[in-house]
Assembly symmetry: T
Homo-oligomer: 140 residues x 12
């Protein structure tokens, strides 16, 4: 039974409540329940933190035993070399996801420290992006 | 019955033959047949050209009647404002796809003129990226 | 009898249909008819292409015999050294025209490769800009 | 009866006397007389100053009652945010004019603080540019 | 009764002890007591942390119920998009404060990620800046 | 009796009339009367000019005898080294004020030549910023 | 019998006619006849196009069977990642040639996207550069 | 008896396990035991955290009483002004150490926020760098 | 009898009073008297203004009849293209002088718009620089 | 009898011994003997130095009497304005040669101070490049 | 018996005499005697030159037979690609040493061309840095 | 009796022979004789070298005993931190001289590493600049 972890970075705990014109009005916990229900034959877990260090700790913890990580690093995507180093240090493949199309936003959101160490990246396809990443990890 | 067009830009006609360590060894035509077979209840078409103008002409042609375009602009992704303007000018939603993880390559491949006018972008997930884009267009 | 060619670059075939808040709602063909009618004592021609190479071919073709070229290079204005070289290579004077005020838009639209080889440039005065360019070419 | 003001910035009082290979040998006052004569059914005025503040004062003075301003900001075009702010602050439409093709000169002349707040810009068409701007303001 | 939170970022716990020529010799806790005493008819709270994540957590916690936040993000002002996103995500207005004049220091201190999402910013007016921010929040 | 001068730079004479969504709809003269009334035990003066040189002259004039200057340099904040030098040359402390949050506007408004020579800066707190600056100057 | 293709990019069809102070007064077709005559024991072919896509198509066509390509990409040298990708995709070695010394011209002509994928480059040695490239390809 | 603290930043807990071609195959805990054994007449302590805030807290804690700190800030070296400020705020001298030669890696690793506030820096000499730093702190 | 004008720009009226560690403690008027006395056989004049426009007006006024201008543009040296244009527009040779060594100060003082249009420049040699410039103008 | 000098710059004395994967395994002295033997009817000389000054001295020495110089400036190509000035100062034409394709290496090797003053440049064609340069100098 | 060479670059011959607040007051020759005395069982040599070429010559001379080089390239560290190439060309490992903390000085001293080709680098630890480098070379 | 040394850098030995439109047609040796004759009551010496190291050696040699150095570093002005360090290391004051107006030439000639460590700089006043520098050194 495959084990997949979804990791959400800073401010994504406010999803559905924060800037709903950019991020939509669904809380991630609600979306996660639907996803978990749809993909019952895998162990699907969810972790969110606003702490860069906590995200790194978690990635270290699962990064040598899980089958895949889906990472939305939020703002740390653009500033955290430490998070990028953590992805490079582990063995589990990571797929990066962004809910909004980061190319339409501030120019500093176009730079990703983490993407270079991930398998690939899905951007701008809303919450659907998490499911597509999941499908990729299950089939590859 | 939904109509979706896959558009491949310059040098992608050499897929399976060109730099196989980066792009894999499957020709796109072969992959397209499998995809078409799997998604029988839609009209799925394929267009490839090395000509920037021909890509623009094609996007104009289908961009007011089709339900979705999956675009791998190849190198024009990074240099063509004209292609980006074409996407902005039409009504059909466009999803950008890149086979390889462009963040791992030359720095000039990190810039995308076209992505800002697309709904979103899937990068680095191989040929699978086309199918995921298709799923997004069918469900959204 | 003076011979003047108006050349429109990529996506300008969609004028009146594309982003009407920026470009207005009149198709260029309709505007061209009015212009032709108003300036009957000159040979006024019109050429549009989305192909950079086709624009260059056309400029070569008329550039040693016509009395003036009015060029709206569209997006190629900002990216095409080849188009700029074509203007430098011919003898016919070229006036650059942009319908919208390019200074109000994306920063990459502020750079023009072609303007340096033109006589001058008219920007932001709508379709009227073509007529003003025409007047300049007729009187100078 | 329409009221239009032509505003010339620093060093343009030396026109016809200064760097005649770039700017031509006609003094602006002489040109203005011809123009005034040709367009008798409008109130056409002329103001020149080498003082940034005086240009701003003048633009404030007429900017809520005149029908149009034709502005050649000279060197202040490239350095004066204050002048640009003045244009943004008033209601009268402004058309920017440059006698020489600024794209052929020092790179710092390619940047215009003022153009973004003007309706549009005519560059490189010599003194004729003022008349074309006038026509635009009269017809729009 | 209005509720206002003062948030201090990294190293501000050493105030009065650290680089006293730049930051002065008063510990913030002592200053806070004086302030609290002076503004008795409001609920004034204080939070300090060296952890970016803890600052974000706190801002989330109070950001939908308090009447104002006074934020001295310290070094995170210049590096934390996550902190800036947190301010954008909440409803409570935030005023940014810096004790020293950041324009007189290293050039990287001139950039603020957070200020753009705050109402405004008070810089270089010492500890007095906190009180002025407080007055603004109480009167607006 | 303390003497304080408020200096407003270019275009601030149009306050209440100009871009009211950014700057509000109160003319500065009206606000100044209220302020003068509220702070009767000081000599409070007001000076506005669109001329860089006039602002410098004024700062020289009062800069060795007044107790404080509150300066909103307007656009000259971003372009005038001469104004910055004037502040460095005098003895009276200067507090910089901006009505709007300059971090939310064009990127060139983030740079301040003058702030480095001022005691500090208050930005984005509306007309209230002038009063807060006044309080600082009176108490320090 | 070795097969070598010479490929000339945009505006090189005007050689001998265009900016003769930079490029000389010999048409390339005339030079090619001389060259062909001198090197009779090889199959020497010539292709010119102003179309980026046509150049790519041609390079694909011969790039897996010919013994060498001599490429003067003209302006596309500096702007076309697509052309550079085409060179990387094929097996035939490519030598880049420029007639004029590109280091003496506009700074944007110093950058070459294509050179990095070529074996080497000959610049500024006039039409003679083509023959030297030919010699290299024949002897290596 | 001298007290020296070794501080390791993010991902250095994976040493010996992570990218062993860059960092070697010895876990830091094993190396630390050897070092502690060799330098018995000092109090040598070790602290590692992936949390920027925890590193700052620790530096504050020991920074006014210990005789030296050896800091390998890992990725925070390149991004954390907060960590740099912490070093500037304390009294204990800090020597920066990097195991790999950061000049041979990504360009963003060449920039160090922290080094400017340290006594000096040892780079690229492997784990031996820690011991050399220790010798410096004991002898100076 | 030769006519030479010394022009001093903004803040130089405070010489001897302003930042005396940089500029020395002699007022320019006193120095000018000594200079005038020493060079009796020439018409030596002095003009100072804090107004960019006034400096330009003065340069226009004397620039077609005097034998030389010695210009210390002060801060306008670094920001005024208008002043630079004025120098280019006149016939009288101009020598630029700076009292302090501008290379030892803020980096933006290293750039001079005006120097390119002057004959040459003397920097950092104190008030003596004016006399050396005078000698040059008298002997050349 | 024509006189040609080959000048090799720093580290090229180690050719055949240094980084043989980039530069090949033939010592330049051996190659030079072959070349000299092949071109017997010219005076062909060779000079190598690691000293920038010695290269300049040599170029001065022969630069008014020889018929051509073939210069591989090595690393000084990218850093020496003095060497570039020396080439500009002499009358003998200089052809620049690089053994490896400098476009495939570190980005700082793409900049050449010297090339702008040479006739042209041959890059990436190995030792053969020297012979091609020789042929050019003999025939032109 | 191991052979180690210490190489000092430009101006280091003035050590103890030059800017003693930065570099200390001990002449290197005196320090070298102490070092030589302490490490008697190795052949320790010293070479200093202000000539870039002489440093390269020396490195070539010993670089295939000695066991280690300790290099303080002085100012050439920041400007000499030729010196960096010399280090890359030899077989002997090189450790870079700087006496002062170059991160605390002019920004151009932060860039090192040579470090990338050295094993590692010791900065800011004074003359002690040479001894630490020596220890590293003896033990590795 | 005062001792002054004139130091000329690379290519200045060709003065009068090299690019005479920029540098004039007088050899420096001839000019030096005239100067020596005119200033008989001082020991005036002259040194020229194309070697950066030789210039540094000379500056060290005289820099603790002479009364002044007049330095025209030629191209090393723009590239040599080592030469700049040499000037900073000595006690004799140095005045920098450039014959041509370096602001009118290539942009890289506007940067001077050496000027910051000199007393001041005279530029563009031809050979006369050496004499003016001499006068300054004699009178200060």
């Amino acid at each position: 039974m495959k084990k997949i972890l979804i990791v959400n970075g800073p401010n994504l705990n406010l999803l559905g409540r924060r800037e709903t014109d950019i991020y939509g009005s669904v809380a991630f916990e609600d979306y996660f329940k639907i996803l978990k229900n749809k993909y019952k034959n895998i162990e699907l877990e969810y972790f969110q933190s606003n702490h860069e260090g906590a995200l790194i700790d978690k990635i270290h913890e699962v990064g040598f035993s899980y089958d895949g990580i889906i990472l939305n690093g939020g703002a740390y995507t653009h500033t955290s070399i430490a998070l990028a180093d953590a992805i490079a240090a582990i063995e589990t493949p990571v797929v990066e996801v962004h809910i909004s199309n980061i190319y339409k936003r501030e120019s500093y959101r176009k730079h990703s420290y983490t993407a270079v160490n991930c398998v690939g990246c899905i951007t701008g396809l809303g919450l659907k992006g998490y499911e597509l990443a999941l499908q990729f990890l299950l089939e590859n």
